[in-house]
C-alpha cells in the first residue's frame, strides 16, 4: 500500500512538472485532469483498511468532476475562445521547470519541518501536496492566458485537497460536497468569464487587462 501511495505521489509531482513545461494548452488541461484522477485514487488509498461507503464515493465523484467534467468544460472554453492554443508564458519554460524544482525543494523542506505526529501513510504526502499548490501559484503568476490562470487555481485547489487527504481529514460529507460544488461552480463561472473575455477582447491574455490601474 505504501508503494502504491508513493507511486501516486511521484506521478502527482510529475503532473506538476507537466503543467509547468507543456507549451500546448490541451496538454496543460490534460495534466490537471490526471491530477484530479490521481487525487481521487490517493484519497481512497490513504484510508487503508478503514474504507467506508462515503469514503469511496466522495473521492470517486471528486475524481469524476476534476478528471473529466472540469477538463471538458475547459476544453470547450478553449475552443470557443478561438485563440492560439499555446501557453505563451511570461517566463520561459526552462525557468518554469527550475522554479518548479525550487518549489519541490521548498516543499520537501517544509514537509520535513512540519513533523506530523499523527500516523501518515507516507512521508511524501505533505511535500507533494505543498508542491502541487506551489506549482499552481507559479502558474497563476507566470502565465498570460486567463485559461492557464484557471488551471493554476485548479492546481492550487488540488494541492490543498491533497493535503486534506494526506492528513486523512474526516470532514463531514456535507462539507466535502460543498467544497466540491464550490470548485465546480467556480470553474464554471470562470469558464463563462473566459468566454466573455474572448468575445470582448479577441484574446484571452489576462496580462493585457490593464485598463484599470492606479499609479502612486
Amino acid at each position: 500500500m505504501s508503494q502504491l501511495i508513493n507511486s501516486i505521489l511521484i506521478l502527482l509531482v510529475l503532473t506538476g512538472f507537466m503543467l509547468l513545461s507543456s507549451s500546448r494548452l490541451a496538454a496543460c488541461i490534460r495534466a490537471i485532469a490526471i491530477q484530479g484522477v490521481l487525487l481521487g485514487i490517493l484519497a481512497i488509498a490513504v484510508q487503508g483498511r478503514q474504507l467506508s461507503m462515503a469514503g469511496v464515493l466522495l473521492p470517486l465523484s471528486s475524481a469524476m468532476v476534476k478528471g473529466f467534467v472540469l477538463p471538458w468544460m475547459l476544453l470547450r472554453a478553449m475552443r470557443e475562445a478561438d485563440t492560439v492554443r499555446e501557453v505563451e508564458p511570461l517566463i520561459s519554460y526552462n525557468l518554469s521547470i527550475i522554479a518548479g524544482t525550487a518549489a519541490l525543494g521548498l516543499s520537501l523542506w517544509l514537509g520535513h519541518r512540519l513533523q506530523l505526529s499523527s500516523q501518515l501513510a507516507s512521508s511524501l504526502l505533505v511535500p507533494a501536496a505543498f508542491f502541487t499548490s506551489l506549482v499552481g501559484m507559479i502558474v497563476i503568476a507566470s502565465r498570460r492566458k486567463a485559461l492557464t490562470q484557471v488551471l493554476g487555481y485548479l492546481a492550487l485547489e488540488n494541492g490543498v485537497y491533497a493535503f486534506g487527504a494526506a492528513v486523512a481529514l474526516r470532514l463531514p460529507i456535507l462539507v466535502e460536497l460543498g467544497i466540491l460544488l464550490d470548485v465546480f461552480v467556480g470553474v464554471f463561472v470562470m469558464g463563462i468569464a473566459i468566454f466573455h473575455i474572448s468575445r470582448e477582447f479577441n484574446h484571452i491574455d489576462a496580462d493585457k487587462l490593464q485598463a484599470l490601474t492606479d499609479r502612486l
Partner: protein, 488 residues
C-alpha cells in the same frame, strides 16, 4: 428558524431567475428583503434554536452581522428597484470612452443579489468553520455577476480580477482550515470538531505551531476577501466598475462577512492564550492597509475608487481594533456597524452623482449641492462621517480604538493611526468638497424625475449614521459588549 433565514433568499433567487415580469420580480426582491429583515429583528427578541446539529447557530457576533446585512440589503433593494427602473429606460453609453454597451439581464442581476444575501447570511450563522468557508466562496461566486452588470471590457476586467484573486485567497484559507483541523487533532488520534464552540473550549489542547500556521493562512485568505493590504488589489477595480448598488453591498456587507472568518480564528486564538501572536499580525496588516489606503487616496481622481480605498482603510482600522484587544474590540465591532452604514450611503450617493454628471472623474463634478440637493448634502455628511468627524458614528468607534491604544501603552500604533487618519481626511476632503460646492457645468441639468427611493434610501442611512454617533441604543450596546467579550 435559522434555516429559514437562508432558504428564503435562496429560493427567492431561484424564482427570480424564471419570473418574466419585471414588476413581479422587483416586488419579490422587496418582499424577500423585508421578510429577511423582519426575521433578523425577531432573532433579537427570541433567540433561535441551533440547526444542523449545532452547525448553524447565532452567537452575539453572528447576530449583529446578520442583522446589519439584512438591513443594508433592505435599503439596497429599494434603491435597486428604482435604479433598475431607470436603467431600463435609457440606452447606455459608457461615460469614459463613449461606446455603447448593454446591461445584463435584470433577472440574473436580481437572482444573484438574492443568492448573495443567502450566502452572506450563511457566513454569519455558520458555526462550523469548513461550512463558513463554503459560504464565503459562495459569496464570491454569487457576487461576480453583479460586478459584470454593465457589459463592457473594464467591468469584465474587474470581474476577472475579483474572481481570480478572491478564489486564490479563499483556497489558501481552505488550507488554513485544514491546518486548523490538524492542530485540533489530539495526540491520541481523536479530533476536536471544527465548530467555534468546541474549538474555543478545547483551545488549550490545540497544537500551537500548527495553529499559528493556520492563523496566518486564514488571515491571508480571508484578508484577501476582506480587502486587507497587500491583498486588496481587486477592491478598487471591482468597486469602481460595479453598479453602485453592488458596490454598496460589497463594501457594506461582504467585507464584514469576510472579516467574520478572521474573527472566528481570533476567538479561538484568544481562548487558547495565543492572542499575542494573532494580535501582532492583525496590527501589522491593519496598519499596512491604512498606509496603503492613504497612499492611494492622495491624488485619486475617480471618486468611486476613492471610496473603495476608504473601505480598505476602514478594514485596516477594524484589524487594528481587534488586534489591540480589550476596549478596542468593542470599538471595532461598533465600527463595523458605523462603517457599513456610512459606506453604503456614500456609494448610493455616488451612484446618483454618476447618473447625473455622467462622469467618474471627481474633477469634473461640481456644484452637487445645487444639482442634486439631497445627494449633495448626504455627500458632505458622508465625507465628514467616513473621515471620523463628530457627531457621526464612525467618530465614536474610531475614538474608542484610539483611546484603547493609548491606554494599553501602544503609543507607536496610536500615533501612526492618527497620522494616517489625518492624511486620509485631508486627501479625501479636498476633492469631495470641491465636488459638492461650486457651480455646476452648463450641460448638467438637474436630474429628471428619478425614483424617490434614490434619494430617500441614502437619506435614511445618513440619519442612522447620525443617530449612531449621538446615541447608541442600550440593546445594541449590550450586544456589542457580548460580541466583544468573545474576542477578548
Amino acid at each position: 428558524m435559522i434555516v429559514l433565514l437562508i432558504i428564503i433568499p435562496a429560493s427567492a433567487g431561484l424564482a427570480a431567475f424564471f419570473i418574466e415580469s419585471d414588476r413581479l420580480r422587483r416586488i419579490l426582491l422587496l418582499a424577500t428583503a423585508s421578510a429577511q429583515t423582519a426575521l433578523s429583528l425577531t432573532t433579537w427578541i427570541v433567540s433561535p434554536a441551533p440547526a444542523l446539529g449545532g452547525w448553524l447557530a447565532e452567537d452575539a457576533l453572528g447576530r449583529l452581522i446578520e442583522t446589519l446585512t439584512s438591513v443594508l440589503f433592505l435599503a439596497a433593494s429599494f434603491y435597486a428597484v428604482a435604479y433598475l427602473r431607470e436603467e431600463r429606460r435609457q440606452t447606455h453609453s459608457d461615460f469614459e470612452e463613449g461606446f455603447l454597451f448593454s446591461n445584463a439581464r435584470e433577472a440574473s442581476f436580481t437572482a444573484c443579489l438574492l443568492f448573495f444575501l443567502a450566502a452572506m447570511t450563511l457566513v454569519a450563522v455558520s458555526q462550523q468553520l469548513a461550512l463558513l468557508w463554503v459560504a464565503v466562496e459562495a459569496t464570491t461566486l454569487a457576487s461576480a455577476p453583479l460586478i459584470y452588470f454593465h457589459r463592457h471590457h473594464r467591468s469584465l476586467e474587474a470581474t476577472w480580477k475579483y474572481l481570480l484573486i478572491c478564489s486564490v485567497g479563499i483556497a489558501l484559507a481552505l488550507l488554513g482550515i485544514f491546518f486548523l483541523a490538524v492542530a485540533a487533532t489530539n495526540p491520541d488520534g481523536t479530533t476536536i470538531p471544527l465548530t467555534v464552540q468546541d474549538l474555543r473550549s478545547n483551545a488549550h489542547h490545540l497544537n500551537v505551531p500548527w495553529f499559528r500556521a493556520a492563523f496566518v493562512l486564514l488571515l491571508v485568505g480571508f484578508g484577501t476577501k476582506m480587502g486587507l493590504a497587500p491583498f486588496h488589489t481587486w477592491l478598487p477595480d471591482a468597486h469602481s466598475e460595479a453598479p453602485s448598488v453592488a458596490s454598496a453591498l460589497l463594501s457594506g456587507a461582504l467585507l464584514n462577512c469576510a472579516f467574520l472568518g478572521i474573527l472566528r480564528a481570533q476567538e479561538i486564538s484568544v481562548a487558547g492564550g495565543l492572542a499575542d501572536f494573532s494580535d501582532k499580525l492583525l496590527l501589522v496588516f491593519g496598519l499596512i492597509s491604512m498606509g496603503v489606503a492613504a497612499a492611494f487616496i492622495s491624488g485619486q481622481t475617480d471618486y468611486k475608487r476613492m471610496l473603495a480605498y476608504s473601505s480598505v482603510e476602514h478594514m485596516g482600522i477594524l484589524a487594528v481594533g481587534v488586534g489591540l484587544g480589550g476596549a478596542a474590540v468593542f470599538g471595532a465591532v461598533l465600527h463595523v456597524i458605523n462603517h457599513s452604514l456610512t459606506k453604503a450611503m456614500l456609494f448610493l450617493v455616488a451612484g446618483n452623482f454618476l447618473a447625473a454628471y455622467r462622469t467618474k472623474n471627481s474633477a469634473e463634478v461640481s456644484g452637487a449641492l445645487s444639482v442634486l440637493p439631497v445627494s449633495g448634502v448626504l455627500w458632505l455628511v458622508g465625507l465628514l462621517a467616513i473621515t471620523g468627524s463628530p457627531p457621526f458614528g464612525p467618530f465614536l468607534s474610531e475614538f474608542t480604538i484610539l483611546k484603547a491604544a493609548l491606554d494599553h501603552g501602544q503609543i507607536f500604533v496610536a500615533v501612526l493611526y492618527l497620522v494616517l487618519l489625518a492624511i486620509i481626511m485631508a486627501a479625501m476632503a479636498a476633492p469631495a468638497l470641491a465636488m459638492a460646492q461650486g457651480t455646476p457645468a452648463a450641460d448638467v441639468k438637474a436630474a429628471p424625475q428619478r425614483g424617490l427611493a434614490l434619494s430617500v434610501v441614502p437619506a435614511m442611512l445618513g440619519i442612522a449614521v447620525l443617530v449612531m454617533g449621538v446615541y447608541v441604543p442600550p440593546v445594541l450596546t449590550r450586544a456589542l459588549r457580548e460580541a466583544a467579550h468573545l474576542l477578548g
